[in-house]
């Protein structure tokens, strides 16, 4: 089981802040492909992954990052702090 978190417009587009999923995805990219196939709102949110950033267990990561042993994956747009 992996907790998936969504922030900013990704959260709004998908319609929820977090969910727990059962997945065999080996990488973040595999997980994205799985989510895209679920429903239209996921397909829309993940249409262009170059517009998204990902954190794996609360550290910024790449979309080819492995998911073995991972507990939390977060998807969000580029950050706008400061």
């Amino acid at each position: 089981m992996i907790d998936i978190l969504y922030f900013a417009w990704v959260r709004e587009r998908i319609g929820l802040p977090r969910e727990r999923v059962q997945t065999d995805a080996a990488t973040v990219a595999d997980l994205v492909a799985e989510l895209r196939g679920r429903e239209e709102r996921y397909a829309l949110a993940f249409a262009d992954t170059s517009a998204l950033r990902v954190a794996v267990d609360q550290d910024l990561a790449d979309f080819d990052a492995p998911l073995a042993g991972v507990r939390e994956v977060a998807f969000f747009p580029p950050m706008t702090g400061g």
Binding site: L5, A8, W9, A55, A74, P77, T80, G81, G82
Partner: protein, 144 residues
């Protein structure tokens, strides 16, 4: 090193006085970011990723501290709903000489902009819009 992520407003003068007390360093630089009125804007809503925010900022501050041998460093960043003119965030650095204090503060600002998990939304009279990251923000990181 002090990192605070909070909804409450802060007094930048009081923060800077407390930060500077008893320092051995000869240079203190600070930056405060305010909510700017981007035309017909009433407020700004700042979302963040609680489990990651402090940890990401702490890593950035640790790097700045090591690189410029800072005696002290402070980052305060707010989240939640902020009105136009309110302070959003503040950075302060204390180093032996001013060049180090200035550079460390700029480094912290550049990294906080695109590596700390905050997202700004402008709340206007006619609707809400997420602030988009600028390519220049990302480019700014390459100079470090």
């Amino acid at each position: 090193m002090t990192v605070r992520v909070q909804t409450a407003a802060f007094d930048m003068g009081a923060e800077l006085n407390a930060f500077s007390e008893g320092l051995e360093a000869g240079a203190v630089v600070s930056f405060t970011g305010l909510v700017r009125d981007a035309g017909r804007m009433v407020a700004m809503e700042i979302e963040h990723y609680p489990a990651m925010t402090e940890r990401a900022i702490t890593a950035i501050v640790q790097e700045a501290t090591a690189r410029w041998s800072l005696e002290r460093a402070l980052v305060i960043h707010r989240h939640g709903r902020l009105m136009v003119g309110e302070p959003i965030m503040m950075v302060a650095t204390a180093a032996r000489h001013r060049a180090g204090a200035f550079q460390a503060a700029e480094f912290l600002m550049d990294y906080l902009k695109s590596r700390a998990p905050f997202w700004k939304k402008e709340i206007g009279a006619e609707g809400e819009v997420w602030v988009e990251a600028k390519a220049s923000d990302e480019d700014a990181l390459t100079r470090w």
